[in-house]
Symmetry: C2
Subunit: 340 residues, 2 copies
């Protein structure tokens, strides 16, 4: 389409060059992409499968730092979308990307950005099949539509849990919230107090989401409900409960924490509420019927996916609560689910 003033796209030669030099290799030669030389992609769905589609947008200065390593920006942009697919038990098969660029980007930046996508998609599956390049007077904005595949009717929904279901979370919670604090203020007390390797671990957890791909088929087999933990365990657990019209309890002592996060809590650099209400974990929160929980745990263990049982769903009249070790209900304040 035409720009109303100046240019609505990077210059045409730049656009053609970006596509052929940087983006086309990300298609891995997949037919669906038509070499990014048509106006649309074309997916031939496998018989007996549904397509799961998710769309998360990221804005420089809002969802990532404009001066983050472009490889990390790419990994995060794809990772947050793949994280949604994983929680729905869908295998990533393809993605489309609209890039709004605040000027003709430097080759070096684009090369690193696209190599970030190449690495990420080789780790998680899928390939680029289409998208759009536009110019913006605003910040770099990346909108990705990721497409996954699941056996027909088997997408795991957010709100299909039942009272009595056990609640599980993968990995560890709260590291990314600490990583964001470090990234935001590298001169903070937090940063001064931590060893270099601990800082690097936490930053990595914030900058480079690593959704538990190994859990996809296991979720499809055992989970009654699931979503990814992206806005904080507190809010995302409340969403799981609200979707199912039920209540639920999380035992705070059972929430898996990394050694680094435990050390930060011990040093009072953050409290448990901060970890629970922080976002960007990109772990999976799942509900599993009680009589399937042992098999679920065994399957996850075989697949090498770290998993912790942290609570259970309950009847609606019991409400939604995070229970501390002393039996008291944790006050989650503004970061919690109360203001839903």
């Amino acid at each position: 389409m035409s720009a109303i003033e100046g240019t609505g796209k990077p210059s045409l030669s730049t656009e053609a060059e970006i596509i052929s030099k940087f983006l086309e290799p990300l298609t891995l030669g997949k037919d669906w992409a038509h070499g990014l030389r048509d106006d649309a992609a074309c997916i031939t769905p496998r018989t007996g499968h549904d397509l799961v589609l998710t769309k998360d947008a990221l804005v420089a200065g809002v969802h990532f730092f404009a001066d983050d390593d472009p490889r990390d920006i790419a990994a995060k942009a794809l990772g947050v979308n793949v994280s949604d697919l994983v929680a729905k038990a869908a295998h990533p098969i393809a993605y489309l990307m609209a890039l709004a660029l605040p000027g003709d980007p430097l080759d070096g930046w684009l090369e690193r950005f696209c190599s970030g996508f190449a690495d990420a998609q080789s780790r998680w599956g899928g390939a680029l099949i289409g998208g759009d390049l536009v110019a913006t007077p605003g910040p770099l904005t990346i909108s990705i539509t990721a497409i996954g595949e699941v056996a027909s009717g088997r997408m795991v929904q957010r709100g299909a849990g039942r009272p009595g279901d056990k609640v599980y979370v993968t990995g560890t919670i709260g590291d990314a919230a600490l990583g964001l604090m470090l990234r935001r203020d590298p001169g903070s007390a937090l940063a001064q107090d931590l060893d270099q390797d601990v800082r690097e671990f936490l930053l990595d957890r914030y900058l480079r989401p690593d959704p538990p791909i190994g859990l996809i088929d296991i979720l499809r087999e055992y989970a009654s409900a699931a979503l990814d933990v992206s806005d904080g365990l507190a809010i995302d657990f409340a969403r799981m409960c609200a979707g199912a019209d039920c209540g639920g309890r999380i035992a705070v002592a059972d929430i898996p924490l990394s050694d680094a996060a435990r050390a930060c809590v011990a040093s009072r650099l953050i409290d448990l509420v901060g970890l629970i209400c922080g976002g960007d974990d990109y772990e999976v929160l799942a509900a599993v019927p009680n009589n399937r929980s042992a098999a679920f745990e065994a399957a996850a263990s075989s697949a090498g996916v770290a998993l912790a049982c942290i609570g259970e769903l309950a009847p609606a009249d019991e409400g939604v609560a995070f229970i501390a070790a002393d039996g008291a209900k944790l006050d989650l304040g503004r970061g919690g689910y109360d203001h839903f």
Copy 2:
């Protein structure tokens, strides 16, 4: 995900309200959308069909005017995507939308914006099935992924034409380029010289794309190649030829012009090159094998789709040319295909 400073989304209560009050009605209750209350949409593809996916992003101040009627912004955002689907012979079935909002929007604006989508999707088909709402310090940015359906293997490609194929275009060309001139500079000589109804016609052609939905099945049946005319007939015809590795000739006198555009050319407010190189037509450019052209024309006529035969594809060594009435090759300058 977390915002790095301040908020990465409209306030949570605002987000929930926008979804339930304005966006959820656009799902038309379709199962695929899960009421926009899950992290992903789930499409069950019809057996024997491919899914066609296209993704166009629009930025305020670049692709539309920030003070355009929000109903028009919506119609354009969906229209430019539907236009791609139509040219690929795919019926629109669903779309996802990521909205990057420069602040909590006013209810009145959102209401008009969403009623624009409601009207557009009822005209063209499909429903909202998912998306994302984020905050941006930059301009309003709308990224849509539109999904269409076509019988397996029957997507009409941009670059599958053959020398000898007749070349057709729907509707009229260049009105939107004039409409953009009027929208950009309402006090211009152009605006002063035209009657009110002519101005309104041209503005409407720019602001409200109207892709020829009635041609979808006919394209699938008869076209060897097609794309929508979005960046200007000159460039888009060059793309059709380049994709097929062939040449082609357009007879400029056969390019369909509206009475309004003819009057503007007669008054020297614009020349033919301006019409041919202007964008935003959102008509279909199609190639049809010679022996199928009569049937194609008859089918389009029965469907009430205005269509003109404007040229033909040719061997590569004949090059790509727009031929004026006097037999001379039109010089398309910078707006043409020469700088591809």
